[in-house]
């Protein structure tokens, strides 16, 4: 495995796109770019699965399994038997930054 981050769960159906431009606005990694008819998926491999595009796509053209890309949170969740790894909160075993420095 050379690059664990090469593929992800982002999927986009241009057929459904209403070209509102929101995905290009909310994405912090310029994964989408505005175009004439529909949004263009230009940097799929840069997606960090934050879920902002899916949440702000009124046409439902984008799906992504969003979650925290944090090993500490995931390992912590696995150890404590939690299903979902999240960051933040005082009870958190998560980032040493106490969810301040993590995304």
């Amino acid at each position: 495995m050379l690059n664990a981050y090469k593929s992800n769960t982002l999927s986009y159906d241009p057929e459904l796109c209403s070209n509102c431009g929101m995905c290009s606005i909310v994405c912090p990694h310029s994964v989408f770019a505005p175009d004439d008819d529909v949004a263009k998926l230009v940097r799929a491999e840069a997606c960090m699965e934050c879920g902002a595009c899916q949440l702000n796509c009124p046409a439902g053209a984008i799906t992504v399994e969003s979650g925290v890309g944090c090993a500490a949170a995931m390992i912590g969740a696995a150890l404590t038997g939690n299903k979902e790894a999240t960051c933040g909160g005082s009870e958190s075993v998560c980032c040493p930054g106490g969810a301040d420095d993590c995304k």
Binding site: M1, L2, N3, A4, Y5, K6, S7, N8, T9, M22, S24, I25, V26, C27, P28, H29, S30, A46, C47, M48, E49, C50, G51, A52, L55, N56, P58, E65, S66, G67, V68, G69, C70, A71, A72, A73, M74, I75, A85, T86, C87, G88, G89, S90, C94, C95, P96, G97, G98, A99, D100, D101, C102, K103
Partner: protein, 365 residues
């Protein structure tokens, strides 16, 4: 505060009014037991100037001390005497987030709507859902924002989009959500055109962004490092104690600095590479150590150094994924499944090898 308004103040003899007729407590959706207060709006004054106490607060926060106490009261704040037509900016109730916003708006009159994110910054809270559609819609009502401004437009930080659905907010509250730039400091520029440049829309992770994380990371591992170091030292292995401390410090301090320059996209392999560099002096010290030790045993101890230190450093480095703004859950999960077993085997191998070598030494080999 909002509870005060919702507590019934009428004497018991007076028949309760129908909820929808109440000026104060309007029920929200069907099946929602909570009520929302349409209260006379209280707007707390604030300023764009940060004082010494604020800077001290930021410093302490950056050191990771008392992080749970960095909260401010959620609700509406007024910046520089705003009018009903002034902008409304939305932020989290974490002091660093709130201060970043207000200090970015010198000589701007605005209303600041602070959501209750439990003292967590915007992006983390959005990921968790506390900086989210529900909280925003509820806070609009609870704060009485409707009566404070004439327009129906909110400016949110772009990173809040991971928790807020703009079209949902419009549907439920009538307020239009406009996503401003990622960084509050770009707001003055953004406000000129109400358009963010591609640069304003991208998260960065440059050297300064990474350096500022080091104190928190360092203080986070400080006590375990001291305990491990002390125990190993007490067991009569000062060299091993030093190696353990260096391996962890390498992952916590050197790794964030060197991150973009370590080849390979995977954090675990970046960690292995970093450690190969850090372990060299220790392995070398074993190779050239004084005493009546055979060459094979020396090589063996050098191997122990590499294996043990690599596994520790790589694990610490893998845990840094959460502090970066670009790793996906899918990728991190792949890394965990691929490399954590490798790390465990390396550490286990180092322990077995160390025991075997000690045994050989006893036999006088």
């Amino acid at each position: 505060m909002s509870e005060d308004c919702c507590t019934p103040r009428r004497p018991r003899s007076v028949p309760p009014r129908r909820p929808e007729a109440s000026a104060c407590c309007a029920p929200r959706g069907v099946g929602d037991s909570e009520t929302v207060c349409r209260t006379e709006s209280i707007e707390r004054p604030t300023t764009s100037a940060l004082n010494l106490a604020n800077y001290w607060d930021h410093f302490v926060a950056r050191c990771g001390i008392n992080r749970d106490r960095r909260r401010i009261t959620p609700g509406l704040y007024s910046l520089d005497h705003p009018t009903p037509d002034s902008h409304v900016f939305v932020t989290a109730n974490y002091t660093l987030s709130f201060d970043a916003l207000r200090s970015a708006l010198p000589s701007v009159s605005a209303h600041l709507l602070v959501l209750d994110t439990k003292g967590i910054n915007v992006w983390c809270a959005a990921g968790k859902g506390t900086f989210g559609t529900d909280e925003l819609v509820n806070r609009i009502e609870a704060s009485g924002l409707r009566n404070v401004v004439r327009h129906r437009r909110l400016i949110l930080p772009q990173l809040g989009a991971a928790g807020v659905s703009a079209h949902e907010v419009r549907k439920r509250s009538g307020f239009e959500v406009e996503y401003g730039p990622v960084r509050a400091r770009d707001l003055p520029e953004y406000l000129k055109t109400r358009k963010a440049t591609p640069e304003m829309r991208r998260v960065r992770f440059n050297l300064a962004d990474r350096l500022i994380l080091i104190p928190v990371e360092l203080l986070g591992v400080l006590s375990p490092v001291l305990v491990i170091g002390a125990v190993l030292y007490a067991l009569g292995h000062p060299m091993v104690s030093l190696a353990a401390i260096v391996a962890i410090i390498a992952g916590v301090v050197f790794f964030p600095i060197l991150l973009p320059w370590l080849p390979t996209p995977n954090f675990a392999t970046k960690g292995f590479i970093l450690d190969a560099l850090v372990a060299i002096p220790f392995a070398w010290a074993q190779l050239v150590s004084k005493g009546e030790i055979g060459p094979l045993v020396r090589v063996g101890w050098a191997g122990v150094c590499f294996l043990a230190m690599s596994s520790v450093t790589a694990f610490v480095c893998l845990n840094f994924t959460g502090s970066t703004p670009f790793t996906s859950r899918t990728g991190v999960r792949r890394e965990i499944f691929t490399y954590v077993p490798v790390m465990a085997w390396m550490l286990g191998g180092a322990v077995v090898l160390a025991i075997a070598l000690s045994f050989l030494a006893h036999r006088g080999l």
